[in-house]
Structure formats: structure tokens, C-alpha cells
């Protein structure tokens, strides 16, 4: 791929980018103004519209084969701010729209405003924050300016944290507080890095910066600070202290969004930073550290998932492990090599398939917990017979996590594995394979007893429509396994060639 064009003018379809961000914001304002049960209606109404916009962006991108650009207010960078969409942004926009919509439809049963009351706290908060997460994620995926992205990632945190403690139990508030404070630590690190870069180069526009930066001390320090700050928000091992309690105790719909999307937001920025801002700064050793931390996360998260006694905690630790996989792409996307496109596709595929699979699993686990009144793994014997559809969704999600075909998880693993061999770094491939074995281990702990013929009594059977939502997400993760070659070409749009170690 050639270097991205220095685009300082809006392209055709560029205003869609602006629309993608502003639509949920309008929804938030309207929800706040009208309040009560209208918030739910507004959110649900906007979801298909937002999905349509995301699809339209993808189509424009596909047609032109070049990144879409929108310059806000006509002020060109460095003074103004640009929004940009490349292949990775576009698939993330679509994924976000789908999962937010799924979580919304799933949550209607829990976060409906009770009849007779005009407004209830938890539902109103939920619907507004769901839209806020959506808006800030879209901004993260489209922002072309590092400070703008700082604001986006902060908004994302502010929207995500309260979702953890909607039920106001001491346990969840404490988890939320931990999450918030640690994320704030990460924010100041990131901001400090941004300040240093601005001081050195006088711009924060990603494309302009990528031309100006060279490998020098201020860049090293700034990159170190920014990456570490974003890692804190991504919960890469050993910075995962906040993730298990927050993701495991939140309501299922919230856990799904948090695990599937919110941690991917900061991961997306790490990718942007190294492959968008610093493509000309060699970073072999940095990639090694990231991949080593990722490997530790896979091993550690999976072993701890094996130890858990509650289903949602198991899934949360599995997220800790799966985040690790994302970082294995870094050492493989190096230099102008043949396997780079493969590794890039594999990394994005892992991001997408984990998003769908994990969302499906959290939603399924939520249904199980509601129907049984608990989510103790040892008391799930026979759940397969009474909630077959839910368990099927959970199992399909698990299939993708294990990396078994046909699933997006398998395709991701296959691409990364092949790239790791071609790059002469089979160690990362070996890590992936052992991670798959461990994933099979912790999923076996759930699935084998669940499929046994014991008799289990439900407090209340789950609603079919909610089961269907979980199943649809799981099937999407499976369908990704059938992605045609054109899809991978699409992911390459706008990818900047990265400097090799020898340059």
C-alpha cells in the first residue's frame, strides 16, 4: 500500500462521517430534553439510522478505495480538525452500530420505564449512556487529531463507567470507581504524550504528524506515555485490575458493550498511534514488548478464567486473555513485507470476531443468570436442555474464541499464525495455539456440564426475542469465518506502510 494521501479537503461522502458522530449526540440531547420513556424510543429509533450511515460510509469507502475525509468547518489542519475513515474505521463503525443496537434491543426488557411512572433513573441513564458510548466510539474511530481523540476517549470512559454501577450496589460502585480512577491515570499519561508531540511538531493532525515525526527522544517518550495510557484503558495485562469486577458485575447488556466495544476503542487508538502517526518510527522492540504483554495476557487471563466459579467472571477473564491476541499483530505488521497484509487482516478480524462473540456470550450469560437467579458454573448442569437457544449462542461464541472453524476467530488465528511463520517469528503463533487450548479448557468447564442430562428448573424462561439477539450476534461471529477475499482487501484501504526495522 502507498502512503496515505495528505488529504486536506473533504472527499465525497465525507459529511457522512460528521453525521455518524452527531446523530447519537442529537439522540442524547433529545433524550435529555424529552426524558422518561422517550429516551428508549429515541435510542431504538436512531440505531437503524446509525447503522445505515455506517454502511453508507463503508460503501463510499469501497467505491473510492481511498480514505474518506471531512474537514470540520472548512478549517484545514493544523488549525482545523479533520475526520477520516479508512477500512479499519469503517468496519469498526459497522460493528459498533450492530452491537449497540443488539444490546439496546436486548436491554428493552430490563431497562424499560415501568408503567405508571414518567421517569426512572436506571433506564434513563442506560439509554442516554448507550448513545453516548456510541457517539464517542464513532469519534474515536473517525477522529484525525490526537487531542480530539483524547476528548473522545475520555467521553468514552465517562459514558462507560456509570453503566457498570446502574444497580447501585456497593460492589458495583466500587468496581466503577476503580475503573474510572485507573482510566484517568491512563488519560493523563496520554495527555502528557500529546503535549510533548505538540511541543515538538506544532500539530496533532495524524496525517501531518506522520510526515513530520522522526525517531528522536521526544517522540520516544511521548509514544511511551501515550501507549501506556491507552493500554491502561484497554486493560492489557498487567493493567487489568479494573476489568474483571467491572465487566462481571455490570448488567449483561452493559457488559456486552464494555467487553466487545469499549476496550477496543483504546486499542484502536494504539493501532492508530503506531501505524498512523508513527509509521516512520521504527518500533521493533516496542512491538516485541506489546506482543510479550499480549502473550502474558493470553496465558494469564485464560488460566484465571479456568479458576473462576462464576460464569460472568469467567467471561470477563476470557476478555483479559482475548485482548492479548490483539497485540500479537504488532510484531508481524513490520516493514514492507508480504505477510503484513495478512497480519493486519488477522488482527482486525480478531477485533471484530471477539466483539461479536463476546457480546453474544455476555448476553447469553445474562439470560442464564436471570433465568436461574445465579451464574454459578457448578450449578449449570443441564441448562442446555432447558435453554437450548441461549446455550447454542454461548457455544457458538465460544467456538470463535477457541478459534475453531467456521468462525471469525478461526480465520483471525489462521491469518496471524501464517503471518507469524512467514515472518520467521513462530513463537507468537505458538502462543496463539496454546491460548486456543486454554480457551477450550475454560469453555469445556461450562459446556460439558451444561450439556449433561441433569434436570434443571428455571425461575422464569427467557424471552425468545432476547435469546434471538444473542444468537444473531454469535452467528455474525461465525459468518465472519466465511469472509470473502474482497473483505480483506477492504480492510487494507488506507493502511499506511510501516517502516521496517532496518530503515
Amino acid at each position: 500500500m502507498n502512503a496515505a494521501p495528505i488529504a486536506s479537503a473533504s472527499t465525497a461522502g465525507g459529511s457522512l462521517l460528521w453525521l455518524a458522530i452527531i446523530l447519537p449526540v442529537v439522540g442524547i440531547l433529545a433524550s435529555l430534553l424529552s426524558g422518561g420513556r422517550h429516551a428508549e424510543r429515541i435510542a431504538l429509533l436512531l440505531m437503524p439510522t446509525g447503522f445505515g450511515i455506517a454502511i453508507a460510509i463503508a460503501i463510499f469507502l469501497w467505491r473510492s478505495g481511498q480514505p474518506l475525509v471531512y474537514v470540520i468547518g472548512g478549517f484545514n489542519p493544523p488549525l482545523g480538525i479533520a475526520l477520516r475513515a479508512d477500512g479499519f474505521s469503517a468496519v469498526m463503525l459497522v460493528t459498533t452500530a450492530l452491537i449497540v443496537a443488539a444490546a439496546g434491543f436486548y436491554a428493552r426488557a430490563i431497562f424499560a420505564t415501568p408503567p405508571g411512572i414518567t421517569e426512572a433513573r436506571a433506564p434513563l441513564t442506560f439509554w442516554i449512556l448507550l448513545q453516548a458510548i456510541w457517539a464517542s466510539l464513532n469519534l474515536v474511530f473517525l477522529g484525525g487529531d490526537l487531542f480530539n481523540l483524547y476528548v473522545a476517549i475520555e467521553l468514552l470512559t465517562f459514558a462507560a463507567v456509570p453503566l457498570v454501577c446502574l444497580d447501585s450496589r456497593a460492589e458495583t460502585i466500587s468496581a466503577a470507581l476503580r475503573y474510572l480512577l485507573f482510566a484517568l491515570c491512563g488519560s493523563v499519561f496520554y495527555l502528557l504524550g500529546v503535549a510533548l508531540l505538540y511541543g515538538a511538531y506544532g500539530t496533532l493532525d495524524i496525517v501531518l504528524l506522520s510526515d513530520r515525526v522522526s525517531s528522536e527522544p521526544v517522540v520516544w517518550v511521548a509514544a511511551g506515555l501515550m501507549t501506556a495510557g491507552l493500554l491502561a484503558k484497554t486493560a492489557l495485562f498487567p493493567l487489568h485490575l479494573w476489568l474483571p469486577p467491572a465487566h462481571a458485575n455490570a448488567p449483561a447488556a452493559c457488559s456486552a458493550v464494555l467487553s466487545a466495544l469499549v476496550v477496543k476503542g483504546s486499542f484502536f487508538l494504539i493501532v492508530r498511534l503506531w501505524f498512523g502517526v508513527l509509521p516512520n518510527v521504527p518500533h521493533e522492540a516496542v512491538s516485541f514488548i506489546l506482543a510479550a504483554l499480549g502473550s502474558a495476557a493470553i496465558l494469564f487471563g485464560s488460566v484465571l478464567a479456568l479458576q473462576q466459579e462464576r460464569l460472568k467472571l469467567l467471561i470477563a477473564y476470557s476478555t483479559v486473555a482475548q485482548i492479548g491476541y490483539l497485540f500479537l499483530m504488532f510484531p508481524l505488521v513490520q516493514g514492507p513485507n508480504l505477510w503484513v497484509a495478512e497480519a493486519w487482516s488477522g488482527g482486525i478480524m480478531q477485533t471484530l470476531s471477539h466483539a461479536f462473540a463476546k457480546a453474544a456470550m455476555f448476553l447469553a450469560a445474562g439470560l442464564i443468570a436471570e433465568s436461574l437467579g445465579h451464574d454459578r458454573i457448578r450449578d449449570l448442569r443441564g441448562i442446555g436442555a432447558v435453554m437450548p437457544m441461549t446455550l447454542f449462542a454461548f457455544g457458538l461464541g465460544g467456538l470463535s474464541l477457541m478459534g475453531l472453524p467456521p468462525s471469525g476467530g478461526f480465520l483471525a488465528k489462521w491469518l496471524l499464525l501464517k503471518a507469524s511463520i512467514e515472518a520467521g517469528r513462530p513463537i507468537w503463533g505458538a502462543v496463539m495455539l496454546s491460548g486456543g487450548l486454554l480457551a477450550a479448557g475454560y469453555l469445556y468447564r461450562v459446556l460439558a456440564p451444561a450439556l449433561s442430562s441433569d434436570i434443571l428448573h428455571l425461575k422464569a424462561p427467557p424471552r425468545r426475542s432476547r435469546e434471538a439477539v444473542a444468537l444473531a450476534l454469535a452467528l455474525t461471529a461465525i459468518a465472519l469465518g466465511f469472509a470473502p477475499k474482497a473483505f480483506f482487501d477492504f480492510l487494507q484501504i488506507g493502511r499506511v506502510a510501516v517502516a521496517g526495522g532496518s530503515s
Binding site: 463507567v161 460492589e171 506544532g202 473462576q308
Partner: protein
């Protein structure tokens, strides 16, 4: 010592103090204060950066100032959210510290 160097030192000192508090003090309120100290330090550093006028040759670059103001707003909202959570936690569970693991993995719902 120029004003810029002095401001730089003060900024760094603030960041250091804030980090120390954030790491060692288990009280949530003090952690929030620590975060604000770091934030102030970073904004000071940003201010120095502004003097360089690095962008399109302005005498004094206005962009960092705009960023600092935005940053202060963000930090303010963060503190407000954190304080709200601490207050809520106090209502529900009484005085708390973040030293111990509140939510042990083995705890059941």
C-alpha cells in the same frame, strides 16, 4: 532561570506529587485530588509548549490554550463523576478505601 523553566519545574513537581498520591493513598478522595494535581501539572507543561508558537508561525500559538481549556473541562467532569461515585458509595457502604479487593472473585451474587 526563565519563567518557562520555572513553570516546567513546577509542572513536573505537580505531576510527581500527584502520581505519588495516586499510587500510595488508598482514599478515593485523595486519589481524585492526586489526579487533579497531575492534570494541573500537565496543563502547565502544555502552557510552556504554547510559547514555542510551533504551529503556523504565530507569536503565541492559540491552539494549546484552547486545548488546555478543553482539558480543564474534561478533568473537571472526570472529578465530578468520581466524586459522585464516591458519595454514592459512601451512602451505600460507608467509608471506603480502595486498598483491599472489594469484589473478590470468589464472591457469589
Amino acid at each position: 532561570m526563565t519563567a518557562a523553566t520555572l513553570a516546567g519545574f513546577i509542572g513536573s513537581a505537580l505531576v510527581g506529587l500527584g502520581l505519588y498520591g495516586l499510587i500510595t493513598d488508598p482514599q478515593p478522595i485523595r486519589k481524585i485530588l492526586g489526579f487533579n494535581l497531575i492534570g494541573s501539572g500537565v496543563f502547565l507543561l502544555f502552557g510552556i509548549v504554547a510559547r514555542k508558537g510551533a504551529a503556523a508561525g504565530f507569536a503565541a500559538d492559540p491552539v494549546p490554550q484552547a486545548m488546555v481549556i478543553t482539558g480543564i473541562v474534561v478533568a473537571f467532569s472526570a472529578s465530578a463523576l468520581a466524586i459522585a461515585l464516591v458519595l454514592r458509595l459512601y451512602e451505600v457502604a460507608g467509608p471506603v478505601s480502595l486498598r483491599s479487593e472489594h469484589t473478590s472473585n470468589k464472591a457469589e451474587k
